[in-house]
């Protein structure tokens, strides 16, 4: 109790200071006067009386000091004093302060920016959604199919019914719809969601309502939609009476029942959703027919939310037990299948997983940059500490405690760090949405990968800032605390470097760290660059000059016959254009987001083991597709228009599949069973890349669109410029149907490049930050070398007087600097050997220890170091020996 009272009275004392001094003076003066009067009464002379009174009292100044300290909190007073002093000191050397603050701003800012990205993209990716820390992604697994397949709706319902540790099961399947506006088609991204979606996420529509439970049920029974705030604003001009109006979606009028709140983008990392439709509308929005009652149709992606306190392991154990029961109950569809739960940052079906390694690298890189910046500022402070040695020595000599001086130095560091942190936060705020600019746009839209600044990010960044302050602030402080009073005072008079050797070691150590770290970054950048070059040199096996686009005729609600007619007419019109060599259609564009059809197959004459299922991907393509794509035909023929609904079902296999299942015999003429239907093999195509450049050659086959589902994609082989084709295409499509418009036209090269975006982003980031680190390290090296030169003018002068020429001196200084660099590179190389292994998945056919990369990083480092050392070396040759020796 008493302690609290004292604290309060002292806190009050911090403010009521104005009255303190005159009152105290008056009180003490009264005391002295009384004492003097008393002394005089005792018979002393006035002078004597006064002296005696003062002696009796003790030092007036000391009493006042103690009184003042008691009166308020000395910690704050000292801090305030240090702050004011620190500001004055920093203002006196603006060049130093600016450089130090700039270094730290870059370091802290880049860290804070990456924190916002990690928070906004990986950890809490869904703005406005409640309890994201308890959300997990749910995906299937299948022993016969690699990767993470989806889940079927009947299974999903059974999980929901039988699991007790879960709060909610949420379906969220991304889909796309083309909204045709004028002669431009705009792809709007949408989600098919379960009816509990908005309620479970804690997102309340600002107008209208979310979905009702019965809207999960019935085949296309509930054509209703909730639209995004953004769509409501841009397309419906914020119409307050929007509820109840209809919007044509995939050829069917949908009633708008709700508008989502501003800032809610749905639950898909990478893209902002424009509208949501209930599960019952699956058939309209998800290709491949009606799937809601089919346990074998796996198409559902989604999330679960755990009850508070439940761990991932417990949840996984429970849901796996249910999956096991389903396996026994429905062996025909569920054999060898189960589900996996993932933390949000490992979600397999959105962009979280692709962003993860890039952001991991980004984090490692910015931490290195921060360390380098700290080392640099530490070095700058050391130089200054040397300049202030006299000041520090005097302060120590007049009795300042070493801890007091330490506090002063740390306060100065804190001032620098605070200003830099403010700048850094600003930088992070500006950069929070920058990440997305590193990635390519699709269909003219940027991805939605916003950074998130919340208290966690701020707290972490502040922590980083405090650690940084301690790191660079303590270096000169340690040095100062080693000052030996007598020798420092003495040597000051003599003008000789005192304790310079030790200080020099620390400085060299800091530079060594910088060189080592930037070497690691250079090696990382080199490895990624090398592997990116390797990836880009892979031939995709088709012509990258072929143009690709899509016309989404589901918008107009075409039936099979109409879409066939439309496709034939469009291909005819395109092929009649001058400059167009050929055009064809495809269901799935290679390297696109949409996945290929895949099915279990059987091959005539190929024995499979009893438990073995052959599952192969295939694509539905139009006549002349291979020629248009530039994929060579090894034997047989291409599809023609004669391969239609009424003719013999046919297929073209690739040569890898032929080698695997026909053992080198020509498959043309033999048969292939797909989904229980026998197809005649009519041709063999050369293997190409289908999804990624890095993939190993895969078995694959083609079937005609006419005999399967309809095509969406167009491919065009032409010598015309892209813009011309795009314009002509828009014209031809409009001529065929007013309501239709083609999507974005791009080259296959562009399509391929988009799949390597992650690698390119990582390279770009490492290159930028590696360059920055290199520059900082060079500045550090330059600082140390010019400091060495300025401190050893006497030695240099002596050498010159003894006959050393400019060449000797340059060699001397340069070899010093380069020795430091080589030592740093050796340390860096050791670190790099350990660290680059972590880049594993991003590297393609490059060893993490690639000697060429290490050698070139070494070369770059040496060049930068030479440049940094040259100026000080040159300055050394300008030493005037006479003056150097006289001084």
């Amino acid at each position: 109790m008493t302690a609290i009272r004292v604290l309060f009275s002292r806190l009050a004392g911090l403010f009521g200071k104005r009255d303190l001094e005159p009152n105290l003076d008056e009180e003490l003066d009264f005391h002295l006067q009384m004492e003097i009067a008393e002394n005089i009464r005792k018979g002393m002379a006035p002078d004597q009386a006064r002296t005696a009174a003062l002696r009796r009292f003790g030092g007036v100044a000391r009493v006042k000091e103690t009184y003042r300290e008691t009166h308020s909190l000395p910690v704050f007073q000292v801090l305030w004093q240090d702050l004011r002093y620190g500001f004055r000191v920093l203002r006196r050397s603006p060049g130093f302060s600016t450089l130090a603050i700039l270094c730290l701003t870059l370091g802290i800012g880049s860290n804070a920016a990456v924190f916002t990205w990690i928070e906004g993209i990986l950890l809490r990716p869904f703005p406005m959604v409640a309890h994201q820390d308890r959300m997990l992604a749910i995906a299937g697994w299948n022993r016969d199919v690699p990767g993470d397949p989806d889940v079927s709706w009947p299974d999903f319902q059974d999980f929901e019914k039988n699991c007790t540790l879960f709060d909610a099961f949420i379906v969220d399947r991304i889909t796309g719809v083309t909204l045709a506006i004028g002669d431009k088609a705009e792809v709007a991204r949408a989600s098919i969601v379960s009816a509990n979606y908005f309620g479970a996420l804690g997102v309340r529509p600002i107008l209208g309502r979310g979905f009702e439970p019965e809207e999960n049920i019935g085949r296309n029974a509930h054509p209703v939609t909730v639209i995004s705030y953004q769509l409501w604003q841009s397309r419906y001009k914020s119409d307050p009476d929007i509820i109840g109006k209809t919007q044509m979606l995939n050829g069917m009028p949908h009633t708008i029942i709700g508008v989502a709140p501003e800032g809610f983008y749905g639950t898909f990392v990478g893209w902002a959703m424009q509208f949501w439709v209930p599960l019952s509308m699956q058939e309209k929005f998800d290709p491949g027919g009606y799937k809601l009652e089919d346990r074998g149709e796996t198409w559902i992606e989604g999330f679960v939310r755990l009850k508070p306190g439940v761990t991932l392991q417990q949840a996984q154990a429970e849901i796996s037990a249910v999956a096991k029961r389903l396996e026994t109950a429905y062996p025909a569809t569920n054999r060898n299948r189960g589900v996996n739960l993932f933390p949000l940052w490992r979600t397999p079906f959105n962009n979280a997983r692709t962003m993860f390694p890039t952001l991991g690298i980004a984090l490692a890189v910015v931490i290195s940059v921060l360390l380098i910046a700290c080392a640099n500022v530490g070095n700058l402070l050391l130089v200054r500490a040397f300049g202030r040695r006299h000041e520090m020595t005097i302060r120590l000599a007049v009795g300042a405690g070493r801890s007091r001086i330490l506090k002063q130095l740390l306060t100065e560091g804190m001032i620098l760090a605070t200003i830099a942190a403010a700048g850094g936060f600003l930088l992070a705020y500006w950069c929070r949405n920058l990440f997305v600019l590193l990635l390519p746009a699709r269909d003219g839209q940027r991805m939605n990968l916003p950074g998130e600044i919340d208290w966690r990010v701020l707290a972490l960044s502040t922590g980083v800032c405090v650690i940084a302050t301690l790191l660079f602030g303590l270096v000169p402080a340690m040095q100062t605390s080693k000052i030996d009073l007598t020798s420092a005072l003495k040597s000051e008079a003599g003008g000789v470097v005192g304790g310079g050797r030790r200080r020099g070691l620390v400085r060299s150590g800091l530079v060594l760290v910088q060189v080592a770290l930037s070497f690691v970054l250079l090696v990382g950048a080199g490895l990624l660059l090398q592997s990116l070059r390797g990836i880009q040199n892979i031939s995709p096996g088709f012509s990258t000059k072929t143009l690709t686009t899509g016309v989404d005729f589901k918008v107009a609600g075409y039936d099979r016959q109409r879409s066939n007619n439309f496709q034939d007419a469009l291909i005819d019109r395109l092929q009649s254009l001058a400059g167009v060599e050929s055009a064809s259609i495809e269901r799935t564009t290679p390297f696109g987001y949409r996945s290929y059809s895949s099915a279990p197959i059987a091959v005539e004459g190929y024995e499979t083991a009893p438990d073995q299922k052959l599952i192969v991907n295939y694509n539905e393509v139009g006549p002349g597709y291979l020629a248009t794509m530039g994929i060579p035909l090894v034997s047989g023929r291409e599809f023609t228009r004669a391969d239609n609904e009424t003719s013999q079902p046919v297929a073209i296999v690739n040569d890898v599949m032929a080698a695997q299942y026909w053992h080198g015999r020509d498959p043309v003429g033999s048969r292939l069973q797909v989904k229980g239907k026998w197809l005649q093999v009519v041709g063999v195509a050369k293997v190409s890349k289908y999804e990624r450049l890095m993939e190993t050659p895969q078995p694959f086959f083609f079937v005609p669109t006419r005999q399967n589902s309809a095509g969406l994609g167009l491919v065009i082989r032409t010598s015309l410029p892209l813009a011309v084709v795009a314009k002509a295409l828009a014209h031809e499509v409009k001529a065929l149907d007013e309501n239709l418009a083609p999507g974005e036209v791009i080259t296959m090269q562009e399509q391929v490049d988009r799949t390597t975006a992650v690698q390119r982003t990582a390279v770009m980031m490492l290159a930028v930050f590696g360059g920055l680190a290199l520059a900082l390290a060079a500045i550090g090296l330059y600082g140390v070398m010019s400091y060495t030169v300025s401190q050893s003018t006497r030695e240099l002068g002596l050498r010159m007087a003894l006959g050393a020429d400019a060449g000797n001196l340059v060699r001397l200084i340069m070899s010093n600097g380069l020795a430091l660099t080589v030592a740093g590179v050796v340390a860096g190389a050791a670190a790099a050997l350990g660290l680059t292994r972590l880049m594993g998945t991003l590297l393609y056919k490059v060893s993490p220890r690639d000697p060429a990369v290490f050698a070139s990083a070494f070369l770059v480092m040496i060049i930068a170091a030479s440049a940094a050392c040259f100026l000080p070396a040159w300055r050394a040759t300008r030493t005037d020996p006479v003056r150097a020796l006289r001084d």
Binding site: T2, R5, V6, S9, R10, N23, L24, E26, E27, L28, F30, H31, Q33, M34, E35, A37, E38, R56, F57, G58, G59, V60, R62, V63, T66, Y67, E69, T70, H71
Partner: protein, 115 residues
């Protein structure tokens, strides 16, 4: 700062100040100092200045209060008075000191204890 010394001195000084104010009623600083010197028979060489920070601390503890008033010679002076809490503290402190003094005297004069 020689903290240990101050604390010991402060402990005894607090007792002296509180007792003085309890016995004599409100006093100014000089009066307190004089009284302490008198009681100790001028055997205690008190650094009079150190009284003032101690008075401030006692105020912060809430054991004494202060008020500006007029002295005998009609000068403005700050008068200190003991509070209820101060009286309680004085009783506790006095008992404590007596106990310690008793223990110490047993160490100082062991013969009397054993006989």
């Amino acid at each position: 700062m020689t903290k240990d010394k101050t604390d010991v001195l402060y402990g005894s000084l607090a007792l002296m100040v509180l007792r003085t104010l309890d016995t004599l009623g409100p006093q100014h600083g000089w009066g307190i100092a004089r009284r302490i010197e008198q009681i100790s028979g001028d055997a205690l060489e008190l650094n009079q200045g150190s009284l003032y920070p101690a008075l401030l601390r006692l105020q912060q503890m809430g054991w004494i209060t202060s008020k500006w008033g007029a002295s005998d010679n009609n000068r403005r002076a700050k008068f200190y008075a003991i509070t209820r809490a101060g009286q309680k503290q004085l009783a506790a402190e006095a008992a404590n000191w007596e106990r310690i003094a008793g223990i110490l005297s047993r160490f100082a004069n062991p013969a009397r204890e054993s006989s």
